[in-house]
């Protein structure tokens, strides 16, 4: 059927074979099936001009256009299968790649993204995001954690305690995400947990967006007094940072995602510690 099935336990993800794009999320245990797509893009940073001098910087998010990150050619798409887990490796361009993992014994997908060095030789600062899109009808509503504690209801272009005038339709709807973000409609929930603090939103119904990395070329003049353009230098050669992090994706029937968000969220915060030592021969005792 021109699609590739990944995952050998209850959870399976389907990819279109020709484009290598995620299309379906299926859990055979609880009979959840959802159309889910993922994409990457970046916002270009606002430079600030004579009329409007406020530039994008460390504190100020003022996107000046959105640009999809697509491969010039067929996306490099490799699937690894085995008894413990399946992996899908994708290289979108020279500075964006990801590995998606489905563990046989788990019912969520782990997305390890690697981004950078973000190129800025075109003179444009970039803020890189990923989006998960579904057909869920979420009516402008999404939920983000409050510094790892309760998830709080967010409504696009709305605040419960004052009349909001929206000047920045993207930035004005961004919220801090320290643990995760989720959406729900009348039947389903889509949850994404994070391994680091990021910004996130749902700018379109059924869609979750997270900002993963950024590199900007102007100071926002809000106190840092420095451009957000960190580099790593090896042998006098400097380049922008490369970052690597993980997202955890799960779809549930409505009302069934909370337990997973709390328990797995706690496990991400307190990971298993590994300590190594060595031993001679077969003395396993």
């Amino acid at each position: 059927n021109n699609s590739i099935e990944v995952g050998q336990g209850n959870l399976k993800l389907l990819y279109s074979a020709d484009e290598g794009k995620l299309t379906q999320y299926v859990n055979s245990r609880n009979l959840v099936a959802a159309s889910v797509e993922q994409s990457y893009s970046f916002y270009s940073g606002y430079v600030g001009d004579g009329k409007d001098t406020q530039a994008s910087g460390a504190y100020i998010f003022r996107p000046n256009g959105s640009f999809p990150i697509k491969s010039d050619h067929q996306v490099s798409f490799t699937v690894l299968r085995g008894p413990i887990l399946d992996e899908v490796h994708q290289q979108l361009n020279p500075w964006v790649s990801q590995i998606l993992r489905i563990y046989k014994a788990k019912e969520h997908a782990e997305v390890e993204f690697t981004i950078g060095p973000i190129p800025v030789d075109d003179g444009i600062g970039k803020e890189v995001i990923t989006q998960f899109s579904t057909t869920m009808k979420t009516n402008k509503t999404f939920y983000t954690d409050s510094n790892g504690r309760d998830f709080i209801k967010r409504i696009r272009d709305f605040r419960s305690d004052w009349d909001l005038e929206v000047n920045q339709p993207i930035a004005g709807n961004y919220y801090p995400v320290n643990l995760g973000i989720y959406l729900q409609d009348s039947t389903m929930e889509l949850s994404v947990l994070v391994d680091r603090s990021v910004g996130g939103s749902s700018l379109v119904d059924g869609q979750v967006e997270l900002m993963l990395h950024r590199r900007l070329l102007h100071d926002d003049a809000r106190g840092v007094g420095e451009v957000l353009n960190e580099t790593v230098c090896i042998a006098d050669k400097c380049e922008g940072l490369t970052i690597q992090g993980k997202l955890y994706l799960r779809v549930d029937h409505k009302g069934e995602g909370a337990k997973w968000r709390r328990t797995v969220g706690q496990e991400l915060y307190s990971p298993l510690l590994l300590a190594f030592t060595e031993q001679d021969g077969d003395n396993w005792l």
């Binding site: 798409f77 190594f276 060595e278």
Partner: protein, 201 residues
């Protein structure tokens, strides 16, 4: 051994709102250095505590008590000398997995290994199913670049695979696993099957 440097570093970072990007770079570098010093100190404490716990469990049956535990802070970029070098030297790698949460956990751990011929046992000597996954080119390139930047020298040798295996760890407790090279062929980790797309094929 204590965790005073870590406590100081965390207190300083939290008090000064050390969020990446909202402080000058040299200040961020200072916070990072203090946390790194704190981490190294805490690592020593944890290694000592784990050795003590493991030796208590082993009791008097063991002639050579376990001493030096090492951690792999750069495991995310596949840099883990204890797992890579030990197997290459023909010895077995002992991994203590500690669970800081108050519930039992069943997870899959991954370590870089320099050979495809390995097998995994639990603390009772029972063989555990495991899987080898080739390291991606991206992982190799980050390992090379960042290991050199952070440890000062390029890592010697190259791991070939991630070794993945399931672990089961009791609440606020630890489990022990051993990764070894087999003396005879037959019982080794399963190599992942690889499929690449080529156009629509």
């Amino acid at each position: 051994l204590n965790t005073d440097a870590l406590a100081d570093a965390l207190a300083l970072s939290q008090h000064h709102d050390a969020v990446s990007g909202t402080e000058r770079q040299h200040v961020a570098a200072d916070y990072a250095k203090r946390i790194s010093i704190g981490y190294a100190e805490a690592e020593g404490l944890v290694a000592s505590a784990l050795a003590s716990l493991v030796n208590q469990r082993l009791s008097s049956n063991v002639i050579n008590p376990v001493k030096g535990f090492q951690q792999c802070p750069l495991l995310n970029i596949s840099y883990c000398p204890p797992s890579e070098a030990t197997l290459a030297n023909g010895k077995s790698v002992v991994i203590v997995v500690y669970n800081p949460l108050a519930w039992k956990r069943e997870e899959v751990i991954r370590i870089p290994v320099s050979t495809g011929e390995v097998f995994v046992q639990d603390s009772a000597g029972k063989e555990i199913e495991s899987q080898l996954l080739p390291l991606s080119n991206i992982t190799f390139s980050i390992r090379k670049k960042y290991a050199k930047a952070y440890i000062g020298t390029a890592p010697s040798g190259e791991p070939k695979y991630w070794l993945a295996f399931p672990v089961s760890v009791p609440p606020i407790g630890f489990s022990t696993y051993m990764v070894s090279r087999p003396k005879q062929r037959g019982r080794i980790s399963t190599m992942s099957k690889e499929f690449r797309s080529d156009g629509s094929t």
